[in-house]
Symmetry: C2
Subunit: 482 residues, 2 copies
């Protein structure tokens, strides 16, 4: 019996029939995540319903050296949940219980398959919410958020997923079920929880996540400010932050992104705007009132400034932003969603460089992004039916990442590395940096079966990783001394 | 030539004469850190002045399998910087340059030997400060803060060191110089920076730290509230947090701690108080004003409530708190500084249990602690000259940690595990948890030379760590299937 067949037999004995998928046609529905131009049909799909079942499946994978990949809702944009053809896809969608909501401790305990927005819905009656809010929050899962350390518009003020996860149960690639972190702040020992959050499923599978709940603000105000161009909008963003205000969100969309959103959802943004900022202020009412006055003053170069009068108007402003990625499909048959990040102070310079790059290459780039924390999402447009366009778009997309790195930023802000960006990692990290990470990976996963092929440009067998790269500075006569 | 002699020769060739200490009398001055009842004279002390020198010394240690321990200012309270008799103590006090202060990016770059308060002093002209503020901030070093993930009174609102370090250069135990984290938020790859912060020097030596600067608040108000006892003070703490207010600090001292502080620094706390709370509110003036009204209302059970009229009064209030540990020396010849943490909601219950424990055993316990985040610092008093008292104090001190763990807390809040608490770690972690941590340690340090003997109750050779602990739940007929 081959290894995958052995694991399949184990799964059939362990799980109910509906939870083990081997039929080729049904397997095919799991062949990609949100990065649809990478597709692999998994060897086996399982849908466990308990942590113990996850541990048992992973232990069987470890015994037989069969790769496994965990998948939440499959909305990831870097191919982090791309299956392995000879491996097991562990789908967490049936691990969807909210185990506890404890407002007095500001905590909720949820299974990984729980939908992001459902955590907020469960906390809402107590006046709390779950702060990290990816645009896909209606469908993406907490487990996927943990794997990718997901961000969202309100992460400017409230921080990424890593800042909101205080504990997790993890099935290690050996099949052990361990607990990382805890209820109390600052647990002793290594912060392995921090390492696991954002590890893109390469260190194990979380089966329970304890998250921090955030108190709903007393007041919320949403502004839509239209500018002649991204330079003015970028300058306003810098001015607001420099004034000491940290809005809940500052989002930017450029002319092309506005055009797309308008075509898709008729969000009613000011016609002819070169750029818009969506600025949300929240907190105590007195604060929001004072900050609104300052923000209005700092947006003096805006051609139009709208303040949402009620929840419906606020929702309409956000609908344009949240639908922007999908909306670009209205103005271009194909597009690449890029994700890079730069220090906020470099925003105007990098945006100008992207404009120049687009003009020089004739490739259209729509910009829609988290301006406040410098997290860019350039959408690089192309038509796959026109020979050469896709390659040119890929080149422009890569060049934008180079711009991010040379300005002190990073090749991904919140979408992860996955299969998509492994090749770019050496632009940020030295061999010693990457091998240090791979040694940690090997500590969790010596057999290399947890989501192999993701993140690292040159996966290595654990015994192959060099432990020392270069002689550190030696004293003059080192060779002679020893 | 023995191994230590070889490293000594290497150090002499590399470093100026003043930076290599081998004289027994001078070595003896480095024989302990703030946990003075553990003492070991180091085999060699070096005081490097550059990152390259640190890397070269560590590389020599790696070649000769000589243990090394990094030490900042030596103020740690868990013996994390206790030297190794056959090893090298790497003292970072000459790595004390502030390399950059960049208020526009809210960042400063400092070497590890820089004193905590000096970062704030360097940022002050720009209206910024470095938020984590251990009571020892006038003397403790940033490198030590990174090793211990240090907290402080204002960490209730602003978070621990881990939340304020965005990048670091690290010399790994192989002598490689790697960069972890970066200027931009959320770097791709594993969050090894998070693992290294708080790893108590077991994963390498940081040689440069990029920290987040925090804008000075518009307004600060400090209150001193006296209560009949810790129950009332604890209830007020819970009520303030439950009202949605996060003060910059809420500190509590009980009657015995007040008595000690009064004897030492004449801070003028209300005589006869059973407990005091020091509550500091900061932020926009309008906020602080509104919060002050609420806090005053929620402290209705206070017998006296003082609001500092100016900076001098504020300083006097804080002087009592900051001197409290040392002040206990006025009322007891010897004492143990304990450090545990509990969920805030368990505060009244645990304080009552400590009172019962003290009454039952006849051991005096003074409580002075960060009430807002549940971080207890019971001071367990004894007289070493009276036979049996030290042992009883140790027992009470350990029993307090048990109380913390059984109430969902942790055996250390901010002082670290070091040599002092390694034996308590199994009360919080299973063998699988601890071995997962040790596998990560081995990823960085296969030879086990970086601060050996700290943190882990049973240090293992890297080849000895079991990779799988228990069969995870098996399907019924597993034995038969395979």
């Amino acid at each position: 019996m081959d290894a995958l067949a052995a694991v399949t037999k184990h799964a059939r004995a362990l799980l109910p029939e509906r939870a083990v998928i081997t039929d080729r046609a049904r397997l095919r529905t799991y062949d990609c995540d949100g990065l649809t131009h990478h597709r692999v049909v998994p060897g086996l799909v399982v849908l466990p319903e308990t942590a113990e079942q996850v541990a048992s499946v992973v232990a069987a994978c470890a015994r037989h050296r069969v790769p496994f990949v965990a998948r939440g809702s499959g909305t990831g944009l870097s191919g982090g949940a791309l299956p392995h053809a000879a491996g097991v896809l562990i789908v967490t969608s049936r691990l969807r219980r909210i185990l506890a909501v404890r407002p007095a401790d500001e905590r909720a305990v949820v299974e990984p398959g729980v939908i992001n927005l459902d955590v907020t819905r469960a906390a809402a009656p107590y006046g709390y919410h779950y702060a990290p809010d990816p645009s896909s929050r209606q469908i993406c899962s907490i487990g996927g958020n943990v794997a990718e350390n997901s961000g969202g518009a309100h992460c400017l003020k409230y921080g990424f997923t890593a800042g909101h996860v205080v504990a997790a149960d993890l099935v290690t690639p050996d099949g052990d079920l361990v607990t990382l972190g805890g209820e109390a702040p600052d647990a002793p020992g290594y912060d392995l929880l921090g390492t696991v959050v954002g590890a893109e499923g390469t260190l194990g599978v979380v089966t329970s996540v304890t998250v921090r709940l955030t108190r709903d603000p007393e007041a919320v105000t949403t502004l839509l400010a239209a500018f002649p161009g991204t330079d003015d909008a970028g300058a306003a963003t810098s001015a607001i932050i420099a004034a000491g205000i940290v809005p809940a969100a500052i989002e930017m969309m450029d002319a092309l992104a506005i055009e797309a959103a308008e075509a898709a959802v008729a969000c009613g943004y000011p016609p002819g705007a070169g750029a818009v900022l969506i600025i949300e202020l929240d907190g105590p009412a007195a604060d929001v009132h004072a900050e609104l006055a300052t923000v209005t003053r700092l947006c003096a170069s805006a051609t139009e400034l709208r303040i949402a009068a009620d929840a419906a108007e606020r929702e309409l402003i956000w609908t344009g932003r949240r639908s922007a990625f999908a909306a670009v499909g209205r103005i271009s048959p194909d597009y690449i969603v890029q994700d890079g990040v730069i220090p906020r102070t470099a925003l105007p310079e990098v945006l100008r460089a992207i404009t120049t790059l687009a003009a020089d290459t004739g490739v259209r780039v729509a910009n829609v992004f988290h301006a406040g924390d410098g997290n860019l999402h350039p959408l690089v447009l192309f038509d796959a039916a026109v020979p050469g366009q896709e390659d040119r778009a890929e080149d422009v997309s890569g060049a934008i990442l180079d711009l991010c790195v040379t300005h002190g930023g990073s090749i991904t802000g919140e979408h992860g590395v996955g299969v998509d960006k492994a090749k770019y990692l050496p632009r940020m990290f030295t061999d010693a940096d990457l091998d240090t990470m791979q040694l940690v990976r090997c500590a969790f996963d010596p057999a290399g079966i947890a989501n192999p092929g993701k993140i690292f440009p040159t996966p290595r067998l654990c015994g192959e990783i060099p432990r020392t790269h270069h002689a550190a500075t030696e004293p003059p006569a080192a060779a002679e001394i020893f």
